[in-house]
């Protein structure tokens, strides 16, 4: 486990400086005129490593839970060495608390260091993509991983104490970790604070067009989230209510529906240059009647969310550790 | 220094075996006046028995006037059996060796020799016939 951490740290240390160099030279690229190629090579470099780095960071808390948390007490119970450990000159209470504090602290420290390195390493691309607040990037940067590590560790310890055996505890840890994190990240995080609302005219939205479905034709529009924000929902809504339904299209865009495209599901997109009149007429009508409503968490709430989420997970970890402690003291008799 | 050997199956309690072995050593001259008996710790370290057993044996020997405990130093032999018996013992031992050789030549095996001796000894008069 320790070896893995050291290996990954070395990886970051070795590949990071090159990426930063590429990024720095982007600042002067306008003058030299090689912006496109620089951006291209920067993205390429990242794409080589990024999936691995991100995956590692996401899975690290579960690994800490499995390898440092689950055996913490389970191994002593399993192998019978608790009969030696708990009859030395320290009370069971102190033994449990000390182990929890030391290894739990080490887990949080390890996760913190990894997170710091990954954040530094990926920050050029996060800045380019303005994706700091997006899922997965949020999860793997700054202080959030510290909270997850504490939680993963505590899950491992608790599973170990309840199962009294390391292997089932490890399996339970990773299952429970995923079961807790995924719903949180999908449902809870976007709702931690009331999202802000932004109304955008469809004129400013890219990638709008129509898609042939089994029912007929439906209207689609791309997202235009503000940079470094967390998207909550995107919808196209009428200025006075209502949606772009099949009926509305039939009522207002007859000529469009008559355009034949025998393959269902094939998108008919509006692109510059090719503007069949039926398309542009329909788009103009839609733009006049509808707008896009974005619900999002703005960039300036990023740190607030980091702190809230970390605190929630750390509190959960403390509660789990408390449960383990109580269980060991009272119930393992 | 004397070493004790305990026989768990002999039916004789360990402390009595120690007493007997000390007395036997005294009779055979293996222990003489002034010799030190092994410490309790030394005895139990070789023969895994309760130290109280050794203490009990030493106390009985002390009670019989054969040894004396000097606190902080050890337990020492202060009295023995009659010195003149040593010489007599040597002669008797030699006669016994001759007798055993005769018995062997007559074809007796070890068990028969032992049985013959024990039987004769047990039925011999306890007092000297004058």
């Amino acid at each position: 486990m320790l070896g893995l951490l050291v290996g990954v740290a070395v990886f970051f240390a070795l590949t990071g400086p090159h990426l930063w160099n590429l990024y720095d030279s982007l600042k002067t690229c306008k003058a030299k005129g090689d912006c496109d190629s620089l951006t291209h090579s920067l993205l390429n470099e990242y794409n080589k490593y990024f999936p691995f780095a991100q995956a590692f960071s996401l899975v690290l808390p579960a690994l800490l839970g499995m390898f440092w948390g689950a055996p913490l007490i389970a191994r002593e119970l399993e192998s019978g060495t608790y009969r030696l450990a708990w009859t030395q000159g320290v009370t069971r209470r102190r033994w449990v608390l000390t182990k929890l504090a030391i290894v739990g602290g080490a887990s949080m420290l390890a996760a913190g260091l990894m997170s710091w390195m990954l954040t530094w390493w990926a920050s050029p691309i996060d800045t380019l993509n303005a994706s700091r607040f997006s899922s997965l990037v949020f999860d793997t940067s700054y202080i959030a991983p510290i909270g997850y590590a504490a939680f993963g560790f505590a899950l491992g310890v608790t599973a170990g104490v309840l199962w009294r055996r390391t292997v089932p505890a490890m399996a339970t840890t990773i299952a429970a970790y995923v079961a807790a994190r995924v719903p949180f990240f999908h449902f809870v995080r976007p709702r931690l604070l009331a999202p802000l609302k932004l109304i955008v005219s469809l004129k400013h939205v890219g990638n709008i067009g129509f898609e042939r479905t089994s029912n007929g034709v439906s209207f689609i529009a791309g997202g235009t989230n503000p940079p470094n924000s967390l998207a909550f929902s995107t919808s196209v809504v009428g200025k006075h209510g209502g949606e772009v339904t099949q009926r509305w299209l039939r009522d207002h865009c007859q000529s469009l529906l008559q355009l034949s495209n025998p393959k269902p599901g094939k998108g008919i997109k509006v692109t510059t240059g090719i503007r069949p009149k039926a398309f542009s007429d329909c788009i103009d009508k839609i733009t006049a009647t509808f707008h896009q409503v974005l619900l999002y968490q703005p960039a300036n709430r990023f740190w607030t969310f980091q702190w809230i989420e970390t605190t929630i997970y750390v509190v959960a970890a403390i509660l789990l550790c408390g449960l383990s402690y109580w269980w060991v003291r009272r119930r393992i008799t | 220094m004397i070493e004790f050997r305990l026989n768990g199956n002999s039916g004789v309690s360990p402390y009595q075996q120690i007493v007997q072995q000390v007395k036997s050593a005294l009779r055979l001259g293996r222990l003489r006046v002034g010799d030190q008996l092994p410490t309790v710790k030394e005895v139990v370290g070789k023969v895994a028995i309760n130290p109280n057993t050794v203490l009990k044996a030493y106390r009985e020997l002390e009670h019989e006037g054969l040894v004396a405990a000097r606190p902080g130093i050890g337990t020492f032999v202060v009295n023995s059996f009659d010195e003149t018996t040593y010489a007599a013992q040597r002669t008797l031992r030699r006669s016994l060796e001759v007798w055993i050789e005769k018995a062997r030549r007559a074809g007796l095996d070890d068990e028969s020799i032992e049985a013959l001796f024990v039987d004769t000894f047990l039925f011999s008069p306890k007092e000297l016939v004058r």
């Binding site: 192998s79 019978g80 060495t81 608790y82 009969r83 030696l84 708990w86 009859t87 030395q88 000159g89 320290v90 009370t91 069971r92 102190r94 008799t333 | 305990l6 768990g8 360990p14 410490t39 309790v40 710790k41 139990v44 370290g45 070789k46 023969v47 895994a48 028995i49 309760n50 130290p51 109280n52 057993t53």
Partner: protein
């Protein structure tokens, strides 16, 4: 303090089954106490209760006049060697000693290193590589170097070969000779206990069958042999523990505070093993009585 272990109606239950019940004992300090009984009789349960690894389901227990595992000092006064002498397999002997020093207030580091040296063990050796006998000696060293007032050992020699067993017991006896320490050790082999113990507790069917100083027990228990007869005519003070009859002869193991003077009986002394077997037999007989259907034919 005069009580090594004081239990009043002590019991431990797992679900419906009582591993130990109605256990009342007052074991004085200054003895080597043998706890003997068949497997599953409750010996390990009693010892684990004594060192605080288990909590009682009923009754009360004090060890060295304090509740077990009540404080770090109390834990420091008791040395425990569990069954199969557990050690941390991946740690070296030296690390074990460091751990002992860090976790025990009265640790005697010199004693510990001296013992390891005398045993001929390499301190850098991993504990997992030691033989059974060596591991037992390491566990004993860890317990002794704490300078405890009470040493508790759970079947410490059960899985050792005869030589290792003898060496272990010899070292244990040296410790008793040298230091003022009481010992409680359990075994299901009476022969070992006979040499080493001067106080006996017999546990069978989760209960204490008999306990007392061995000299007293052997003085008050006898085997009676006589022509075949009823045992109801024996005086009040004589309790029959076990009896068997052949066509012509009756043999009974009895306990009696007073000497038995009836000339009809031939009185023999018992070995410790005889005594233990008699009580274990009695317990087994009582257990069978409970299980036997009522009103059935014997």
């Amino acid at each position: 303090m005069s009580s090594a272990l004081f239990a009043t109606d002590l019991g431990k239950r797992y679900g419906r089954k009582w591993a130990l019940s109605s256990c009342t004992l007052d074991i004085p300090t200054g003895h080597v106490v043998g706890l003997v009984g068949p497997n599953g009789a409750g010996k390990t349960t009693l010892l684990h209760l004594a060192v605080g690894l288990l909590t009682p389901s009923s009754g009360s227990l004090t060890v060295l006049d304090e509740a077990p595992a009540s404080s770090a000092e109390q834990l420091g006064r008791i040395g425990f060697v569990a069954q199969d002498t557990p050690v941390f397999e991946s740690l070296s002997i030296a690390t074990h000693l460091h751990m002992g020093a860090a976790l025990n207030p009265n640790w005697d580091a010199q004693l510990a290193t001296q013992r390891i040296h005398d045993l001929g063990l390499d301190p850098n050796q991993r504990a997992g590589r030691l033989s059974g006998g060596q591991r037992a000696q390491l566990a004993l060293t860890l317990a002794i170097a704490k300078r405890p007032s009470l040493l508790v050992l759970d079947e410490p020699v059960a899985s050792l070969d005869p030589l290792a067993r003898r060496e272990f017991l010899a070292i244990l006896m040296e410790v008793v000779a040298e230091h003022d320490v009481s010992i409680i050790l359990s075994s299901h082999l009476v022969a070992d206990l006979e040499r080493v113990c001067d106080y006996l507790v017999v546990l069978a069917s989760a209960r204490v069958q008999v306990n007392g100083a061995i000299d007293d027990l052997l003085a008050t228990h006898h085997r009676l042999v006589g022509t075949r007869r009823d045992l109801d005519n024996l005086p009040e003070s004589v309790h029959v523990i076990e009896s068997s009859h052949t066509e012509r002869q009756t043999t009974a193991t009895v306990s009696s505070a007073d000497p038995i003077l009836d000339p009809a009986w031939s009185v023999e002394t018992l070995t410790l093993e005889d005594l233990v077997l008699a009580y274990m037999g009695q317990a087994e007989e009582q257990r069978r009585e409970l299980v036997r259907p009522k009103g059935g034919v014997k």
